[in-house]
Amino acid sequence: METLSSLLPPLLKGARLTAELALVSTGVGAVMAFLSGIGKLSRIWPARMLSIVYIEVFRGTSLLVQMFWLYYALPLLGVSLGATLAGILALGLNIGAYGAEVVRGAILAVPTGQYEAAVALNFSKRYTLWNVVLPQALVEMMPPFGNLAVQNLKDTALVSLITLSDLTFRAQNLRNLTLDTVPIYSLTLVLYFVMALILMALMRLLERVIANRVGVTAARARS
């Protein structure tokens, strides 16, 4: 018990940074997912090309390589981001590329009748996208977004390899100091697990709130 009470405070400090990084990078990822997911469906070809290149590059290479590239290689091109920004950008851009496919799929899954009705009512393209298509697609997107958010939370552990003192980094530090490997890593794993469970509960709540506001459940939107 004594080791637990001495290990917990530093680990919790790291867990806080982990949670902050997960939150901010998920936000970056969500923005990128919508931009490139809608961009890939755009009629303007440069937007489409840009989205495709972004999605393929970030889905096709390893997250850790992207992170190292932003942290070690980019400064040699004259852009020094610092560890925090490099970590957030790598996480956000990576998860955003996965989210883009979710956004695209959900938009394509909106029944064609909805588009036809919007045309019949003489809605503008932008109005149709924002007020007809996206609200319905958003309901569909939420379950896969929940999985991606958990994925992103787990991925934040990699920032410890570019010197950010997140939960994993603190665990490594404690190991070097105390060599109590069993309690340190068990506690670290449990903390990640608890954070993931909380995140899943939050995403499910968000899912329900959005479904209520749009007025359709995912099941009804599909039929």
Partner: protein, 230 residues
Amino acid sequence: MIFGIHWNLTSDWAFAASIIPILLRGMIVTVEATVLGFLIALILGLIFALLRAVPLKIVSWPIAVIVEFLRDTPLLVQLYFLYFVLPNYGVVLPAFLTGAIALGLQYSAYTSEVYRAGLEAVPRGQWEASMALNMPMVLVYRDVVVPQAIPRVVPALGNYLVSIIKDTPILSAVTVLEMLNLATIIGDRTYRYLVPLSEVGGLFLILTIFSSWLVRVLERRLPNDGIPLR
């Protein structure tokens, strides 16, 4: 110099070309770790899926918790756990093997879900028909259910294979000399990170594009109505 291979610092292009053989050595380790990790995930995932389907709650419930735990905690921390904790109990494994096991463990949580979904996707009528024909359970699985489940699980398993490739650089954290680790070592020694890291990115792109193409070919080759196991 790594592996007896010298790099050429006269120009960026010469440097880029001279380190390719070193990175290709790393790529072999990447592929080996992927294959071994994937095999472990395939087998362990199947065991998890079967145990989870056992009607006894005392068996299925703990397995469900373990699978959930493996899936919701970071691979890097699981890897550290195996690498630093197991030696306390007298199990000292080489870094590469520890890494492959960590990959296999994490992905077994995913593959077990794939198997479960695949078995559930076989139409109920198939089960009922086998029951009506009074087939023994072993034959129901071997001749009816599993052959039809295979085409359903292959695409999803293929996606996880590609995922594993992209997770192998994490093994560099426990000194495995795969592509990314070699690239950073080259960077540390020459103060040139841009070229080796960009090349590793390119090589990963080639690996993932090639392997997803392979999975797609395999997928198309599989007959939709199942593969006879005899």
